[in-house]
């Protein structure tokens, strides 16, 4: 085979290799950035954060901690507040990322956010 052609192939292969290396580094960096963002976003609810919440939200969050996943109605029965009020508080906690909202059939449930534990 033509030695000039072989040399050309080797040079091209080296080029491809270095481009692949760059791509791998880029992908790794991107993954790191994503997990860093997740870390800031998902704000799991620890007890010191619980203490710093305003009174009304703290009562709601503590109740949710105690009874586990629950509907706004179930929380309201324990805290002796209107369902709509608890629903409002729970949604505030969802916006703060402390609580997660999900649907099962027709009912909407809330639970303490612990997404980070599964990291």
């Amino acid at each position: 085979m033509d030695s000039e052609l072989l040399e050309q192939i080797v040079t091209n292969l080296k080029d491809i290799n270095s481009k692949l290396d760059k791509l791998i580094v880029q992908v790794e960096n991107r993954d790191e950035q994503v997990s860093e963002k997740d870390r800031i976003m998902a704000d799991s609810l620890d007890v010191i954060t619980l203490l710093s919440l305003p009174d009304h939200l703290r009562t709601t969050a503590t109740t949710l901690f105690e009874i586990g996943p629950a509907t706004a109605d179930e929380i309201a029965k324990i805290t002796n507040k209107e369902r709509a009020v608890e629903s409002n508080y729970l949604n505030q906690l969802v916006r703060m990322n402390h609580v997660v909202k999900y649907r099962e059939g027709r009912k909407v449930y809330f639970r303490i956010n612990d997404s980070l534990k599964k990291k």
Partner: protein, 247 residues
């Protein structure tokens, strides 16, 4: 209905563990199935008084590695109480304690959830009383224990440093978490007979126990409430138990 108590104090060395152990024995001796959990993860002490027979530590449970029942050692036959007396030990190895100090907020959030679930599991297993012995001051482990309890028993000693911090804990932690509280004045240096307050910072005082070296020295070998029921300390413990039950 299971009663869950957190034995806490603003400062260290106020006698939390002695009171927790004696109170647990007093409850079990009166026929209540009791579980004492060492949540002083940074300075475990239960394992220096009793020998664990379980495969797991409470640390393993809080990390989600086992169920709470896997951490229990029943010492009813050893101590001779009427009802079961389960102990859950904290791992005293220095490596484990170093590891704990580096745990982040997320681990602590998970630990609180585990503690809440553990309490439910113990209630389902027919436990009447759960006692958390905690580390002093505002540490994650102790505030987690407070959050998971029904009532906080504050073990207070007769120093001004302890006094101001206790008030802060009541207003800045226990009340915010809607916990019932009660104070035990331990190691009191004044004359107990002239006593004194029934209430402090709006919180009832369950007992005033005078400072006696004997309580500390004898507690190395025995659980006073069991071995010496006529001792003044033992009588105080039983009266504290009775008062807690009607609170």
């Amino acid at each position: 209905m299971t009663l869950t108590l957190a034995i806490h104090s603003s400062k260290g060395g106020t006698g939390k563990t002695s009171i927790a152990v004696n109170l647990a024995v007093a409850f079990a001796a009166s026929g209540k199935n009791t579980c004492l959990i060492d949540l002083d993860l940074r300075g475990p002490s239960l394992c220096s008084m009793f020998k664990p027979r379980s495969h797991f530590w409470i640390n393993d449970f809080l990390s989600g590695k086992c169920s709470i029942k896997d951490t229990l050692t029943d010492i009813r036959d050893e101590v001779g109480t009427k009802a079961h007396l389960y102990l859950s030990f904290s791992n005293p190895e220095i490596g484990e304690i170093r590891d704990l100090v580096s745990k982040d907020r997320d681990w602590q959030a998970g630990a609180l959830k585990a503690l809440m679930n553990g309490k439910k599991e113990l209630a389902e297993r027919g436990l009447d009383v759960i006692i958390f012995d905690t580390s002093p001051g505002v540490e994650y482990e102790s505030i987690n224990a407070v959050a998971a309890s029904d009532m906080v028993i504050i073990v207070h000693n007769d120093t001004s440093a302890c006094t101001s911090c206790t008030e802060q804990l009541i207003t800045g932690v226990y009340s915010l978490l809607d916990k019932k509280c009660a104070i035990i004045d331990n190691m009191y240096h004044g004359n107990c007979l002239d006593l004194i307050d029934k209430e402090r910072y709006g919180v009832p005082i369950l007992a005033t126990i005078p400072c006696m070296c004997e309580i500390a020295t004898r507690s190395k070998e025995e659980v006073l409430v069991h071995t010496d029921p006529d001792h003044m300390f033992s009588k105080s413990i039983v009266s504290i138990k009775d008062k807690i039950e009607i609170m």
